[in-house]
């Protein structure tokens, strides 16, 4: 199987295997994130082989592919949960500042400015909606043990400011009335939204959304579309999303990467991807 879909990654890729990047037409001028030759091997299984791609600053980039193609694995590599076997990943929170991600812990990566949501919602279920968002403010707060115990003026002010920030953020995305509800009691759609808002509270430059439309109905998916755009515009960030819902991908994304069996097989604008024979083959099989 692996032999069939290797037109883009011939041979064993080195760490600087730039030639493996699929022809995306033009390479991004100012990428917020770029990877080169990322390879992830679990035992004998190559989950990702030589993935090189980039997310243009301010864009909404989609990552699609059949089940098991390695999309979430790539996310886990980017966020530090997995450490890729090979390859480099560079994050650039602002133009001109490039940070290699390879050896960083997940919390460090979040602090640098990459936030994510999860395929299966991972909220802090027994905490309130507001607390969920407050926790995400962790890295921007300073109070330590002493501050907590003495509850001095600075700590109190910080708590107040963060609660205020969290409340406004929740309100902006329609969760204002639910701040004191336990997260687990929210309806499914609102939980998905809360996860996004929680990620936003870390003040990211890049937001990774892992199948945000999973489990949503058609009208909720349509609202998600506008939500993602709104988030991108008002929070001034870039979005990389994994999605199965093709209508969402086609309408929301500026650029689409297609992953199959751990390798990138296509990249391009949504319209081109739809017609790409390799993509059609990956999704529907050969006739």
């Amino acid at each position: 199987m692996s032999g069939e879909n290797a037109p883009l990654s011939p041979g064993v890729p080195g760490p600087e295997a730039g030639q493996a990047a699929p022809a995306a037409g033009d390479s991004p001028r100012d990428p917020v994130l770029s990877t080169s030759g990322v390879t992830m091997i679990f035992g004998g299984l190559t989950a990702l082989s030589d993935v090189s791609f980039a997310v243009e600053r301010g864009s909404i980039t989609a990552l699609i592919g059949p089940n098991g193609a390695g999309k979430t694995t790539l996310f886990n590599c980017l966020t530090g949960i997995y450490r890729p076997s090979r390859g480099t990943m560079t994050f650039s929170p602002e133009p001109g500042r490039n940070i290699p991600l390879r050896r960083l812990a997940p919390d460090r990566i979040t602090c640098l400015g990459i936030a994510r949501t999860f395929q299966n919602i991972r909220l802090f279920n027994n905490l309130t909606v507001l607390e969920n968002v407050l926790i995400a403010c962790h890295s921007r707060m300073k109070a330590g043990l002493l501050g907590a115990l003495l509850r001095d003026r600075r700590t109190r002010e910080e708590e107040r400011a963060m609660a205020d920030f969290s409340y406004r953020l929740l309100e902006r995305y329609g969760l204002g009335p639910a701040v004191n509800h336990l997260a687990r009691n929210l309806p499914y759609g609102a939980q998905r939204r809360l996860e996004i808002v929680r990620a936003l509270a870390t003040r990211p430059a890049l937001l990774l959304l892992d199948e945000p439309a999973a489990g949503l109905n058609i009208s909720e998916t349509r609202e998600l579309d506008s939500l993602i755009r709104r988030v991108r515009d008002s929070e001034e960030l870039s979005v990389l999303l994994i999605e199965h819902d093709m209508s969402l991908v086609m309408s929301v994304s500026d650029l689409v990467y297609v992953l199959d069996y751990g390798a990138l097989i296509a990249a391009g604008e949504p319209g081109d991807i739809r017609r790409d024979p390799k993509v059609v083959k990956a999704y529907l099989g050969e006739d």
Partner: protein, 529 residues
């Protein structure tokens, strides 16, 4: 900060009761009112079968079924309890007494108990879905109120009532040694030591979600620090109190490092093994005096005053003291009372701080916790270390109280007891842990009259508790934030600790924000276009 038009209601989905009732116009008021009736969020599932209006025949059939089930369970229970209740070993004469007269009583009791049990189970199943979203996390001593919706109990939520109640409780506790017997004071000291232990373990288990079965070791470290430093260097109580706490903290850190990668069951096993190692070291090492333990640990001193010699005759002469009362024990009682008060304050503040929220996130979901920028390693270590600190403090007081410590005092049963206190009282709940400790320590004492049945009743209560209230006596509650426009700042979410019932006034909120008087007019930026 840029506001784009955004359909609030639509986004929340048509099924959202929460968003539907909170129309975008008045979010502030909605926030507040919502908390009063959290049950509206999810409809009770299959539970309310009891309430289904059926025909008379169906009702009778159900009743008959219920009775039959009760009879069967009662017969089974009677059979099980037979050896305990009917046969009694008469050790004085070395024979067995058969008390058959008790059999009908036993049968009747078990039958009624089963009926009640079944009824309660049904009710629990029904009420579980209505479980309160959040209640107050207010100062604990007066927090001993029942589930949501009890009007007379909610009176206690009002700030003046709380204050009065708190003062009354403090006055009561402070006056106890002056009108009770030495026995009562000793029991109370034990209970307070366990409260401290429970509150400390609550940080580790209840808040941070790290199951620690080796808590006795940290308690032992505190006690042995005092014992050894006294016998070796002649240090007194006051010097050893911080040192004991410190050594327990250090040990907590040392244990924390190797178990960082573990969680859940694996962590529990490792901590259990650690505590056993600690105990075995105490038994086998020379300088701890092995199983013979350390004797003659002194009571705390009070500015060098000879309490029993100088103060006691004076107090006893005025009729203010039981003639047999040991004033050193009274001093220990006051010390441990102060430690408990301090612990409550610290734990309460920790829980509602950045650090405490990091622990809660760790408990809820480790992966998401890291994704929020929280350093998992640091959160785990601080939880372990801080949780152990209080065990060390309690250990020093314990050593001072019983004056003799040996490895046998710090066995696995102690860890289990403290864990039971936390679970029974309510994980992550300060008042819950306090009541849990009081119940678990005081109950066996009260049950002494029942002699043989003492531990039976004790065990039964624990089983019943876990069946009907698995969340604990007073379940942990989340802090409720009241949204009130702060003057001058152009509106903001005032993070004031309120109460789930909706009538709490947060200490930080200058303006009382009751449910009815919740600010109806939202702050400027609140209204979406």
């Amino acid at each position: 900060m840029t506001q784009a038009p955004f359909s609030v209601k639509g986004q929340a989905g048509p099924a959202s009761a929460a968003a539907a009732s909170g129309a975008p116009g008045g979010p502030a008021a909605a926030v507040h009112a919502e908390t009063a009736g959290p049950s509206g969020l999810s409809g009770p599932p299959a539970a309310p079968a009891a309430a289904s209006p059926g025909s008379k025949a169906a009702l009778l059939r159900r009743l008959a079924g219920e009775l039959r089930a009760a009879v069967i369970s009662a017969a089974w229970l009677t059979f099980l309890a037979l050896p305990l209740v009917v046969f009694r070993i008469n050790s004085a004469f070395g024979k067995i007494d058969y008390l058959w007269g008790r059999l009908p009583k036993l049968a009747a009791v078990t039958f009624l108990a089963t009926l009640a049990w079944r009824f309660l189970l049904r009710r629990t199943a029904f009420s579980r879905v209505k479980e309160a979203v959040s209640e107050a996390g207010g100062p604990p001593p007066e927090g001993a109120r029942g589930p949501a919706g009890r009007s007379w109990l909610s009176l206690l939520d009002r700030a003046p009532a709380k204050k009065a109640l708190f003062l009354a409780l403090a006055a009561f506790l402070l006056s106890v040694p002056f009108w009770t017997s030495p026995y009562v004071v000793l029991i109370l000291i034990t209970a307070l030591i366990y409260i401290t232990l429970g509150l400390g373990l609550n940080i580790v288990v209840g808040v941070a979600g790290l199951l620690n079965l080796g808590y006795a070791a940290f308690f032992g470290v505190g006690a042995y620090t005092f014992g050894l430093l006294h016998s070796g260097l002649g240090l007194g109580f006051w010097a050893c109190l911080p040192l004991g706490a410190l050594s327990a903290t250090v040990l907590g850190l040392l244990l924390g490092i190797p178990v960082l990668r573990l969680s859940g069951d694996y962590l529990a096993i490792v901590t259990l093994g650690f505590a056993e190692i600690f105990r075995l070291v105490l038994v086998n090492v020379d300088f701890t005096n092995g199983p013979r333990g350390i004797r003659n640990i002194p009571p705390p001193s009070l500015f060098g005053i000879d309490l029993n010699g100088a103060v006691k005759p004076f107090l006893a002469g005025k009729g203010l003291l039981h003639p047999d009362m040991d004033l050193n024990k009274v001093l220990i009682y006051f010390i441990i009372l102060a430690i408990v008060a301090l612990t409550v304050l610290c734990v309460y503040r920790l829980e509602n701080s950045r650090l405490g929220r990091a622990w809660l996130a760790l408990r809820e979901d480790e992966v998401a916790c890291q994704a929020m920028g929280i350093n998992r390693t640091r959160a785990k270590l601080t939880a372990f270390a801080l949780g152990s600190t209080w065990a060390g403090l309690a250990g020093v007081v314990f050593a001072s109280q019983i004056t003799f410590i040996s490895p046998a005092s710090f066995d696995f049963m102690l860890s289990v007891m403290v864990l039971s206190i936390v679970v029974l009282g309510g994980m992550g709940s300060i008042p819950g842990v306090m009541i849990g400790a009081a119940v678990l320590i005081l109950l066996p004492e009260y049950l002494r009259e029942f002699q043989d049945y003492r531990m039976l009743i004790f065990g039964l209560i624990m089983v019943l508790m876990m069946v009907f209230r698995p969340q604990g006596i007073i379940p942990g509650t989340r802090r409720v934030y009241l949204y009130s426009p702060s003057p001058g700042a152009g509106g903001g979410a005032a993070p004031s600790a309120g109460d789930g019932e909706g009538q709490g006034e947060g200490p930080a909120a200058p303006s009382p924000a009751g449910a009815s008087s919740a600010p109806a007019a939202p702050a400027g930026p609140a209204a979406p276009s």
